[in-house]
């Protein structure tokens, strides 16, 4: 099990599009992924769960992964979040 804490970087937080981007990236990995914010933990491959976290800019997320590709998984997802979701930066 690997975990990493990241800060939400984009201005509008994890709204629908960043959440969709997050789960579609997450679904490409084999690992079991979960995301936690303020004690609430949800499945990282489920869009409803990720959106439910309602993670605003500056809030901290902990990304957990367990499986064969856990290292790459956490690295890739943490990178996605901390860079403000690439092209979606301004959203």
């Amino acid at each position: 099990m690997v975990q990493k804490t990241v800060k939400i970087a984009n201005r509008l937080g994890m709204h629908a599009r960043p959440s969709a981007m997050f789960v579609s990236h997450a679904s490409k990995f084999q690992s079991e992924i979960s995301v936690e914010k303020a004690g609430l933990r949800v499945n990282g491959k489920s869009i409803m769960g990720v959106m439910m976290l309602a993670a605003e800019m500056g809030s901290e997320l902990i990304i957990f992964a367990e499986g064969e590709d856990e290292e790459q998984t956490v690295e890739a997802l943490a990178n996605l979040v901390s860079t403000g979701f690439g092209d979606l930066k301004d959203l």
Binding site: E32, I47, M48
Partner: protein, 322 residues
Amino acid sequence: MADLTVEKLYRDRKNFLDITLLNSESGLKKIIQNAEVHRPGLALAGFMERFVNKRTQVLGETELSYLNQMGREDLLSTAERLFGNDIPLIIVSKGLTPSLDFLEVADKHNTAVFSSRLTTSELSNRLSVYLDAFFAPAITVHGTLVDVYGVGLLYTGKSGIGKSEIALDLVERGHRLVADDVIKIIRKAPDLIVGTGSELLGHHMEIRGIGIIDVEKLFGIRAIRLQKRIEVEVHLAHWSDDLDYERLGLEEKAITILGVSIPQINIPISPGKNITVISEVIAMNHMLKVYGENTAVEFSKKLAERLHRQAITEDYLEADYE
């Protein structure tokens, strides 16, 4: 879980408990740490051993008349002893008000004193209802909760296995969706767990290929319910030739959630398999068991009897030379 401050209790349940604050607001910041309610009769009389100071303290008519017959000095020292023990709050029932001296000591120790117009027993009951709900053990799980014929089925399994699609199919057949994806489970009694959804998600769900849908808007009020006791877990997984699936139903698998054991049924998913009908059968079979009918056990008994009878008959025929 956020702490339960006296202020939160006051804000959330002012009307339900029918309370008004009698002294300064400095006591509202205190934190209530447990669900119990206590009447500190013995503590007022001076017996402080085993005084459960962390509980919400309720004073009734008896306690108040005891305080009222005291001289001022006695009252002050009694109040000092009570509030000095760091109690979270006091609620006085039947609309009674303790003396100003008593309230002053409360202020000095930053402890809120409320007056409620309810009777002592009604007040204690309502306090317990609120406090028990707040302090009940709770977890969130990934799954889908559907009421099928009144039986709460909790679907679990990997993301993308088709939990939401099964729920949709069940809703179409007249069953009711409780929550999809994020299920908050609360233990309401030692052997009872109840699941609800989140306020934000409501009865929305994601269907791969379509996106987010609102089950309440699409199927109407009959298709949803807000909470449901969880009775059976249905675990979905892709069909695997290496795994042994239950063939008889004589042995029941169980899973423990928040210390409550419920039956767990493993259903392998493969193309062309109708999980909706299987779900209805699971629910009905569970009801049969609740009503004392265990089909697998009955059938196996019948088979055993038949084998026994056959053996006797054969013996008889072999020994019968008529």
